[in-house]
């Protein structure tokens, strides 16, 4: 296996286990590269990548941009705020205009689920989904699984609980699919209103009790409450949520075994996770960010290898 089976990275759903393993082994090499004195390789000298962010982002945008620059690609950035999108231009028009500037790959974040798939069916460039609404966020899931693999040596057989706003989370869906493909067991945990109905059909366990979930798992992935996507009130107050589903040092220390804690960011300290947990030695949060660059380099490198030369 030395080539991805997909032409675009739209979601984890499309990837095979072999694809994920190829991305990981390539990312291992890029992790070495970004820890060298000169953190750059010339592989993508002749590739231009457009980062289109129709939704706010700090980490993902910086991480993609850094990954692209460390592969020596030319990078153009676009954010929806302050652009012609507010003047009524459609997505395809916006992107086609950018593509006529000879762009080979598009990294896109968009508030609408399916936006990345929609785009990949209509344009010639490679598309990397950097998050489409509540659908998928594949590179986040890859870097989360990569971080677990790095910590434990393998993902297979590990028990991972995803805690929080599962209903609005693209990270949760991508993570569930990715971890299952790699042979991990997944549980979701949160208030009844924030767990999608029928999610057990995906083969995940469901719990509404944080302590019970934490006792079961090896890894706890804490998600943010996505207030910006919530059209109605799903729980009485953040204070109550935090009392029932927030991870604090007290619960962590009272568990029968030591678990590790992850968070895709941005953290709402004091809501889903307290500061002393986020900054503890059990937290892998900063490793996740570091691995994000290596994973994105690997994804871009492997997709770029499939771009035909003119």
């Amino acid at each position: 296996m030395d080539n991805l089976s997909v032409e675009h990275l739209i979601g984890i759903r499309d990837l095979t286990k072999a694809d994920i393993e190829l991305i990981f082994s390539t990312a291992d090499n890029f992790k070495q590269v970004i820890n060298r004195p000169i953190k750059k390789v010339p592989s993508l000298r002749d590739i231009t990548i457009a980062n289109l962010f129709f939704e706010n982002s700090t980490r993902t945008k910086l991480s993609f941009e850094l990954a692209e620059k460390r592969l020596s690609a030319d990078v153009i950035n676009f954010s929806a705020s302050g652009s012609s999108v507010s003047k009524g231009e459609t997505l395809v028009d916006t992107v086609n205009n950018i593509l006529s500037m000879k762009v080979d790959m598009v990294v896109m974040r968009h508030p609408n689920p399916g936006a990345a798939k929609f785009l990949s069916d209509r344009i010639g460039a490679k598309v990397v989904n950097a998050g489409d609404g509540t659908h998928e966020h594949p590179t986040q899931a890859l870097l989360d699984a990569f971080t677990i693999r790095e910590k434990f040596g393998s993902v297979e057989g590990k028990k991972v609980v995803i805690v929080g706003d599962i209903l609005h989370s693209r990270v949760a869906l991508s993570n569930i699919l990715c971890l299952q493909k790699l042979g991990a067991e997944v549980m979701v945990c949160g208030p009844t209103t924030l767990i999608p109905k029928h999610i057990d059909k995906l083969g995940v366990k469901v719990s509404h009790n944080l302590r019970h979930a934490l006792e079961w798992c090896d890894v706890a992935n804490m998600l943010r409450i996505q207030l910006e996507r919530q059209d109605i009130k799903y729980f009485p107050s953040l204070r109550e949520y935090s009392m029932l589903f927030g991870l604090n040092k007290e619960i962590l220390n009272s568990l029968s075994k030591e678990i590790v804690v992850m968070h895709p960011g941005p953290i709402n300290r004091g809501v889903e996770i307290t500061s002393d947990v986020a900054d503890s030695k059990q937290s892998l949060i900063l490793q996740q960010v570091e691995n994000g660059v290596a994973i994105r380099m690997a994804v871009i490198y492997l997709l770029a290898a499939k771009i035909e030369r003119q």
């Binding site: 090499n29 060298r36 290898a305 030369r309």
Partner: protein
Amino acid sequence: MEKQVILNSKQFELTINRLCHQLIEIHGDFSSTILIGLQPRGIHVLTRLKERLENILGKEITCGNLDITFYRDDFRRREKPIIPSTTNINFSIENKNIVLIDDVLFTGRTIRSGLDALLAYGRPNRVELLTMIDRRFRRHLPIQADYVGKTVDSMISERVAVEWKEIEGEDKVLLLYTLEGNG
């Protein structure tokens, strides 16, 4: 595919010994010299030289492996992407004398990539090149080796294969060719 032995195992050993003594002549006790093998096949030359040199000098010699995949000039010009091997350079090359080591010097493109990859680790004092086989007159770039095991004049259609006891079962160098190719 026809085969012709260019170096048999006896000549192979003599060549390795000679290369070691040539290296000692220039680099003395190797106090500021580092040997770096290019992945994948240069590593075998490196392992053999290191073993022999440490025997002769009675001290350990600093060595590393360098992978050049991301520095190649044929990315997207090949059918498949090349899967990288590991790089293992856990020391500073700043102001050191470096000997790059590979099995066959042919077009020179691998060495060009190797130089780029090496310089990502710092600024060495001097870089030399050692190759087991030099297929001369076939260069695409102005690159020459400082130490050569054996020089071979060959046709483009021919291949030179360096085989190792550890992998193929016997130390030898072969010239591979088809009769039509030479006709």
